[in-house]
């Protein structure tokens, strides 16, 4: 993963954040991410994120479950070990339906949770850089990535004009990594400072 330069700005209110997100996109800056304390309706649209493909994945997991259940049960009761149960036929579809339903739900649910974790890069042990300690507490944090073409000072003044405060520049890992937070990472440093104080 690559280490990149970012400009980070804090917002107090989603009403200020929304127009700022739109302005950033029209100004042509590269929006790395926006961190909010709660899900904000319509923010994904404002950020220009494409629609999630999680539901398509869920559908595929669901029909996989359906097929697994039906094919396994029909193999068991027809080919592997045919039994006469209450005089019912060897492929009693109504009796298979509850189990088929359960396996459909199980496959879809478990599969979607795992896909969600993969898409959001959350897993036990997976770490990502924290731009501001209060980014999921009570502040809205907007992170703009600096490319060769963008001027840091210009972005900072732009964010100030858009209503942000505590604007700072950070050099950080853009992706995720396994293990622990890096030693030069901010939360770790603060811990050291409080211990030393």
């Amino acid at each position: 993963m690559a280490v990149k330069n970012f400009v980070v700005g804090l917002f107090d209110d989603e009403a200020v954040l929304f127009p700022a997100v739109k302005k950033v996109r029209t100004a042509g800056y590269k929006l790395h991410d926006v961190y909010t304390p709660f899900p904000v309706h319509g923010l994904d649209h404002a950020m220009g994120l494409r629609e999630s493909s999680l539901h398509t994945a869920g559908f595929i997991y669901g029909i996989t479950g359906t097929t697994t259940a039906l094919s396994f049960m029909s193999w068991v009761f027809n080919a592997d070990w045919p039994l006469n149960i209450g005089g019912k036929p060897h492929f009693p579809l109504p009796a298979f339906i509850p189990i088929t339903f359960e396996l459909t739900v199980l496959f879809a649910a478990v599969g979607m949770v795992m896909t969600f974790c993969w898409l959001c890069q959350i897993m036990p042990g997976v770490k990502k850089h924290i731009f501001h300690p209060r980014q999921t507490d009570d502040k809205f944090v907007m992170v703009i990535e600096l490319t060769e073409k963008t001027n840091a000072e210009e972005v900072k003044s732009f964010l100030t004009a858009a209503g942000a405060h505590d604007i700072n520049e950070q050099k950080a890992e853009a992706g995720w990594w396994f293990g622990r937070f890096d030693k030069d990472d901010e939360p770790y440093l603060r811990k050291i400072q409080t211990a030393n104080a």
Binding site: H41, G42, E51, H55, F59, G86, P94, A95, I97
Partner: protein
Amino acid sequence: MKDQFVVPARLRMTSFVLMGVGLLTFLIGLIAFKGETRFWAGLLQNSSFFLLITLASTFFIAATTLAQGGWQIAFRRVPEAISMAVPILAAILFIVVMILVMGGKEDIYHWVNPEHVAHDKVLNWKKAFLNKGFFTTATIITLALWIFFTMRIRKMSIQEDGWDLSRETGRKILWRNTVVCGGFMVIFTLSVGSTTPWIWLMSIDSHWFSTMYSWYTFASTWVSGLALISLFVVYLKRHGYLTYVTEEHLHDLGKFMFAFSIFWTYLWFSQYMLIWYANMPEETEYFQPRVWGEWRPIFFLNLLINFITPLLFLMKRDTKRNYTAIVFIAVVIIFGHWLDFWQMVYPGTVKHLVFPWYELGLGLGFVGLIIFLTANQLTKAALVPKNHPYLKESIVHHT
């Protein structure tokens, strides 16, 4: 903003044509069947189905009010207007069932003939429940209560338009709506959720019994009622009314139709599987003509239209937010559940599978009647209940 509905000439014309078709079919049926089994079976099927799907609108208002829902306020006047067809349809149904019971039409309700009951052990046990006195009393009480609550809810809603927009008024609106809707919900559960479908429809197969039957009927009419509401909402939206209703509201109606199509299937299956598994003659007699008799194609068509189609069609987000797609699936759902009622009533009365020209004609007549009454009611009040405290929540609604 267009807030006052004016009935377009084309809609009025359509409703008159449909009602004309219905009346013509009724007269042809009267001559062709000379007042025999099929004539009455068609009337019973159509009048009960269309009464219950308009009553589903009252249920929609009551359920969303009790759940403190806010999203539906922007189009709340639509289910209100549809529900005002309940008194007229209830009158039609009342006339039909009273002729059937008092006229002793034993080919529809086997139990109305005391001779059958006297020599029949099963019917003798059911005598306390299946008799003319109980049937009439229960029908009158439920219909009267449905009409009372439906009119009350509508009247309160129109009355609130004249009030002011203060905090106290808002509280008062919420409180009295909750009380009345709570009352209706109790009545609804005791009638549609338990007794009414048993005496009106299940008693056709008078030896058979199923406790799932009422829930199953309720699920059928509730999902069709939602489809009916969606159709009117889309119609008004297309004609420039209901400015506050967006595809977000449509999306939620689509979700409701999707969810309750599956709910219907769940209840259908719960009834079917237990009977199939236990395989007891007194229970399987209901499914014998439907699964292995002449009605076999309808039995599978029923599942295809009412389960597979909404499941696959409404699964995608885009179809739930598309006006044309919602109209298509709403029509499919209403037709499908009409077919469901058809196969509930007919195998026990007419016995043989017939091409349903007479039943479809009557159905179109009822559709025309509902369009006519609803359009008339929509003109009687503003399309937005402007003083309702949850109106803003509905305007900013976002799924």
